[in-house]
């Protein structure tokens, strides 16, 4: 499959398959996903809950073992690394979660929470740790002197997310996976955090995988967007192009569903009723076919492969819109 983002991508996922087994049944969470992320790029990953976005992120970080496939980070296959080499590599890759409050230990002080990755990485000098913690806390807009001694419950959701971002940056990573970092936040705080992520990306030279279920949010920060449905990729392409001319019917549905703050744009009422089927028994052929207005016989018998539909834009559909 040709999904070239750049000649020398920082992250390359090849034919990744991740499954869970629950009560004797197999959940096909991620099925044969391939992706590339260029150095300095933000790739947005969008799709409805349960489509496998978090599982993909966790498998990339080796927090969840893949059934098959490769995760090449800077040329090294993380799926085959073990012990110290894996730990070393992991330091260069960090994760930010959706629920900022739940992901902070309620009994630990902010200074210790942010310093924890340093301790784990073996930074022994307390002065050095303190200096690095102060640096990242200031970078995310918090006053180290004021916040270091406090506990998480003293902070709002937006501030907790700043703390999580600081913790993820303290080891100076190259690649950060942001898993729904703003989904739990209000409109105004969401904008602050999105801007902060952009600033941090520029300041620390980061490469980002930005996961969200809201396409408008993803578009605001991503160079390219990958759309996922029920464990498979539907479409990958440059953000603006994907918005202007979606090729996959599911991408079009996601765009259609965004609420537009303009009373003259009456809601179309054309979003088809229905929800994603179970990943335990995904539909044969194209997994989107049970909700797709263009589905025909071929769609139920043949799995559509990702193929080039326009410059830099790939879609997995037998009857693409472009």
């Amino acid at each position: 499959m040709m999904l070239q983002a750049a000649p020398n991508p920082l992250m390359k996922v090849e034919n990744l398959v991740v499954e869970y087994s629950v009560g004797g049944k197999t959940i096909h969470a991620v099925s044969d996903v391939s992706l590339e992320i260029a150095r300095g790029e933000t790739l947005g990953l969008v799709g409805e809950s349960g489509c496998g976005k978090s599982t993909l992120g966790r498998a990339v970080l080796q927090l969840r073992q893949a059934v098959s496939g490769k995760v090449l980070f800077d040329g090294h296959d993380l799926t085959t690394l073990k012990g110290e080499p894996l730990r070393k590599m992991r330091r260069r890759v960090q994760l930010i979660f959706q629920d900022p409050i739940a992901s902070l230990n309620p009994r630990r002080r902010i200074g210790d929470i942010v310093a924890e990755p340093l301790v784990i990485a073996g930074v022994k000098d307390p002065e050095e740790r303190k200096r690095r913690v102060s640096e990242v806390l200031s970078a995310v807009g918090l006053d180290p002197a004021l916040v270091s001694g406090r506990l998480p419950h003293e902070f709002s959701g937006g501030q907790c997310q700043r703390i999580c971002i600081a913790r993820s940056l303290v080891l100076n990573p190259e690649f950060v996976i942001c898993d729904e970092p703003v989904s739990a936040l209000d409109v105004s705080i969401r904008a602050q955090i999105l801007n902060l992520l952009e600033e941090m990306k520029a300041r620390y030279g980061l490469t980002l995988l930005f996961i969200a279920h809201d396409l408008a949010v993803v578009k605001a920060v991503s160079d390219r967007v990958a759309v996922m449905y029920l464990g498979r990729l539907c479409e990958v392409g440059p953000s603006e192009q994907l918005f202007a001319r979606p090729a996959h019917p599911y991408t079009a549905l996601l765009i259609e569903a965004i609420p537009v703050p303009d009373p003259d744009v009456r809601p179309t009422q054309s979003v088809p009723v229905g929800e994603p089927p179970s990943p335990i028994a995904p539909p044969s052929g194209c997994r989107f076919r049970t909700r797709c207005p263009r589905a025909d016989a071929r769609c139920s018998s043949e799995v559509p492969e990702l193929r080039l539909v326009a410059s830099g834009q790939f879609a997995a559909c037998h009857h693409p819109l472009v």
Binding site: T42, E48, S49, S156, G158, D186, V187, S188, I189, R190, A191, Q192, L194, N195, E198, H213, D214, L215, A216, V217, K219, A220, V221, S222, D223, S239, E240, F243, L253, L254, E256, A257, I258, P259, V260, P261, D262, P263, D264, V265, R266, P267, Q269, V271, V273, E275
Partner: protein, 328 residues
Amino acid sequence: MSGALLSVENAVVDLPTPRGNLRAVDHVDLEVGAGKTLGIVGESGCGKTMLSRAILQLLPKKAKLSGRVMFDGQDLTRLSAEKLRKLRGRSLAVVFQDPMTSLNPVLTIGTQLIETIVEHLELDLAQARQRSVELLAAVGIPAPEQRLTQYPHQLSGGMRQRVAIAVALSCEPQLLIADEPTTALDVTIQAQILDLLAREQQRRHMAMIIITHDLGVVAGRTDEVAVMYAGRVVERAPTPALFKQMRMPYTEALLAALPKLDVPPHTPLPAISGRPPDPTRPLKGCSFSPRCRYSAGRCSTEKPRLSPAETLEHLYACFHPIAAGGGA
């Protein structure tokens, strides 16, 4: 004021907290006409949910409500608990953000629907059952007959919210209050649920209040919008008038903070700096002044009153309103 199905008059909700009194709702006036839809918009903590609970008379025990809540000719603040309970099942319904707030986890969907219908409408069991199946079909639930025997936990979040809506609609209420009904749901499900609410509202000529933090949700789906900040209504107007010309800087800022579809990626979002004020430490002046880019002069010492703009229907509370054509 007269003729409205619901009119909230000078409502104040105070909650005692260890940090002192928390004024959750601060002198709010609102009306909703029969068959009309009102959107209430604001950030979390600005008093939207407390206001809706004040309307429903479902405030926490310690809360103190003053003012009047006139619904269909009676003041709900003076009704007995028994009368209120009847009214809430029958004429006044609510859908919460988390559908499990209104669904009982140990009862089947069928039992919950049928019980509500039998209790409030004069129907026998067979009729109530028939009615339940029709309702589940109306809210877009596939195979409604089979759902009757299922429990809420066997359904997805979107399906549960549909069931909660079916329960709310089951007694043909005159007013439905939907408090962030889609905030926990995916975008495609959100669109379906909002369409469903709009369709049922029109079909039943029911009045509706939609509470949300997203101006995009109310734009095409309400007759009137009230924007709340720090417990107060700070701007109120017919929906088209509001979006044509926002006068209150907070409303404008809420709109600006939404990601735009027509700007290139990496365009910084005009975020609202800071956070809403601590509600136990009310500010002397305009509550929005610490975050407002137009704040000047008496903004920090005096509270602006909600007063009419050019037209009587468009009200705003601001000393330096945004002028027609933009800029304050």
